[in-house]
Structure formats: structure tokens, C-alpha cells
Subunit: 226 residues, 2 copies
């Protein structure tokens, strides 16, 4: 009899927190990540700015929750694609192009989140370790993916998977950094930098894939170098 109202109150509180974040994400999408203001959140919710402090101790706490939300959303999208579409793609090129497409599409369609996640547009704000955790998990997932591909003989064996991941993130973030700043109104399908993906993936694949027709020669020459 005493726990039921508490649960309901906590559920109601959680719903309000979610509503704050929904409204905040909408404002960020319109004004840019640094254009968020507590007054505007309160205005759209029909309350006064001080009432927001019941749910968040500061504006940075709102940013931190948004960061965690964005990172989790991206991780979900990647993991979901990993389990469905990408599982079917057997060649190195096809898998890479599919994975890059999923990542870049999310970034282009959530420019405010990707601005908050990958750049540092808000002065004085840095994500907490908890908010950063899904991003670290995504990095580990990517490295594990490349290690798997290496074991399956699709990736060169003479480089650590961490290096492959590092260069892969540079390529991906290069596209997601050029597209919104140079041509923010282009969609995923029409974006001129998004259209660079097939070439960039082919470039990456040619460099890091295990040479097929010359596999024996490649191993022999690398062995000779020792």
C-alpha cells in the first residue's frame, strides 16, 4: 500500500525527464548543440525555468543525459544492423560499405547529436564516463569486428586491429564532419560527401584486405622482411 504511490511517482518523474530530453533534442536539432537554453525548454513544456532544476541539477546535466542518449541510440543502430543486414554481407568491401552507410546515415539524420558526440561545441562541457560508456562500447565492438574479419582471412594479418579501427573511424568521421558543415541541407541520399563513401571504402579495403590472388606471395615477402 505504501510502495505503489512511490512507484507511480517515480514513473511520472521519469516520464517528465524523458519529455525534457525530447524537447531539448528538438531544440538542439533546430539551433545546433550550443543553441540549447533552459528557458526555451521550459517555454515549450509550459513550465517555468526553475522547475527544470527538480529533474536536472544543471544545464550540463541535461547535456550529459543527451550525450548518453545519443551514444546509446548510435550503438543500438549499429548493433541492430550488425545482427541483421550486415551479417549477410560476406565480402570485405560489401560489409564495410554497409557498416559505413549505417553510421553515416545516423550522423546525417541526427546532426545535433553527432555534433554533441564527436565535436566539443559546448564550452565547459565534457561527457561523464557513464555517458561516454556506449561510445567506448561501440569502439570495442568495431575493433572486435575487425579482429573477426582478420581471423576469417579478410583483413591483413600484419596490422593490429586497433590500427584498422583507428583509420576506419578517421574515414567515417571525415565524412560526418564535412557533410553537415559544408552542405548541411543535403540528405543522406544526396549528400556530396556521403557519395564519397564507395570510393573511400574501396580505398580502405584495398589497403587493409588480405591480398587474394597473391596471398602466398604476400606472406612470403613479409616473412622475408623479418
Amino acid at each position: 500500500m505504501t510502495t505503489a504511490p512511490i512507484d507511480r511517482r517515480q514513473r511520472r518523474r521519469q516520464e517528465t525527464i524523458e519529455e525534457v530530453l525530447d524537447v531539448a533534442a528538438a531544440i538542439m536539432a533546430e539551433q545546433g548543440a550550443a543553441g540549447l537554453s533552459l528557458g526555451e525548454i521550459a517555454r515549450r513544456m509550459g513550465i517555468r525555468p526553475p522547475s527544470l532544476y527538480v529533474y536536472f541539477p544543471s544545464k550540463h546535466a541535461v547535456y550529459d543525459a543527451l550525450f548518453a542518449r545519443g551514444a546509446q541510440s548510435l550503438l543500438d543502430v549499429i548493433q541492430d544492423a550488425d545482427r541483421t543486414d550486415l551479417e549477410k554481407l560476406t565480402t570485405f568491401d560489401a560489409f564495410l560499405l554497409g557498416a559505413a552507410g549505417v553510421f553515416v546515415r545516423w550522423s546525417v539524420e541526427h546532426p545535433a547529436y553527432s555534433q554533441l558526440l564527436f565535436w566539443r561545441p559546448v564550452p565547459g562541457f565534457a561527457p561523464s564516463p557513464e555517458a561516454y560508456r556506449p561510445a567506448v562500447e561501440l569502439l570495442g565492438l568495431t575493433t572486435q569486428r575487425f579482429a573477426d574479419l582478420q581471423h576469417r582471412g579478410l583483413v591483413r594479418r600484419d596490422v593490429p586491429p586497433e590500427q584498422v579501427t583507428r583509420d576506419w573511424t578517421v574515414l567515417s568521421s571525415g565524412v560526418t564532419s564535412q557533410q553537415p558543415s559544408n552542405a548541411p541541407d543535403e540528405s543522406f541520399d544526396t549528400g556530396r560527401f556521403v557519395q564519397a563513401l564507395p570510393d573511400l571504402v574501396a580505398m580502405f579495403a584495398r589497403y587493409y584486405s588480405e591480398p587474394r590472388s597473391t596471398a602466398a606471395r604476400g606472406r612470403a615477402s613479409r616473412a622475408d622482411q623479418r
Copy 2:
């Protein structure tokens, strides 16, 4: 007799404008591009905030001048390196690594400027065409460079130079976007993403260089001898 005081006054005014921009750039370097405030500029200059409006009609005008300054500084650095160091490098790989190094070094050592130039951290601010002009000129310069390398037989002839430039800027901006957001305290020499440059350049060069085993080798070596 009447022009002399006017010239001196205009020179004094120009000096004040330069001082405003010096101070503003220092604040941006400390606080991030969006952390600039007119009050802080005035405080450091020992004047009152309204006095700044004598030299700049708005805060966005200060940002616009900073954008123009940063773009011009980058263009100067690239053009200078183009005329001196890079002129000596004859192979495709060596030239690319040198050019990428100059660009990335400038970006890492001027994080606030590069944030303002390549991302859109300030809500509501977009550079004017005049401020953007050096950036356009740099893009044209880069495309011209790749067209030259194509004529000298060092770059594949089956792709337009604009495509080579597009993929080149993705690589470069990928490094300059990852380095300050993921490891802002690392220098040009220790930066883990800066250290990816040799691999990324080799990847790019292997994809876009004219295959050596064809007749292009004769043309390339003749061009190198000039």
C-alpha cells in the same frame, strides 16, 4: 596636410581592430569557439563592452573577422609550404604526406580556429562570402595541385581532380576532427590520430596514384627529372 591625421587615425583604428581580434582568438583558444564573449574581450583590453561596437557592429561580425583571419592564416601556411618544402618532394607519397602534415599541424595547433572554420559551433553564425573566400581559394588550390599531379602522370587519369580533392579533404578533416575531440591535450607530435597520417596517406596514394607497371612510369620519371 589634411590627409596625414586621417591616415594616422585610420592606422590607429586598424591597430585597435587587430588587438580586438588578437584577444578574441586567445579567448577562443581557451574556452572554445562558442565561449567567446564581448565582455571578456573588453575586460582584457581594459575598456567597456559598448566601446567594442565602434569597431564591430555585432558579435557575429567579430566571428566573421576571426573566420576570415583563420582561413587566411591556413591559406598562407599551405601556400608557403607549397612554395618551399613541398616543391622538393617529387614522389606522390612524399608530397601527400608533407601536405597533410602541414594542414593537420595547423589544425592541431590552432584548435579554436579550426573549430570555427570546419565545424559550426556558434548558433546562428555562418561566415560571409568574403570571410569564406580564402577557404574557397584553398580548395581551388588543392584541386589545381591534383590536376598538376595528374598531368605529370602521378595521379590516375580516370577520375576528375575534384573527386580526388573531395576524398583528400575527407581524410584530412577526419584526422583534424578526431584529434581535438578525442584527445585534445595531445600535441601534433604525440597525437594518436596524427600518427595515423602515414597509413592514411599510403592508403590514399595506393588508390589514386597512376599504376607504375604501365607506360605511365616513363612519364612520371621524366616529370621527376625536371
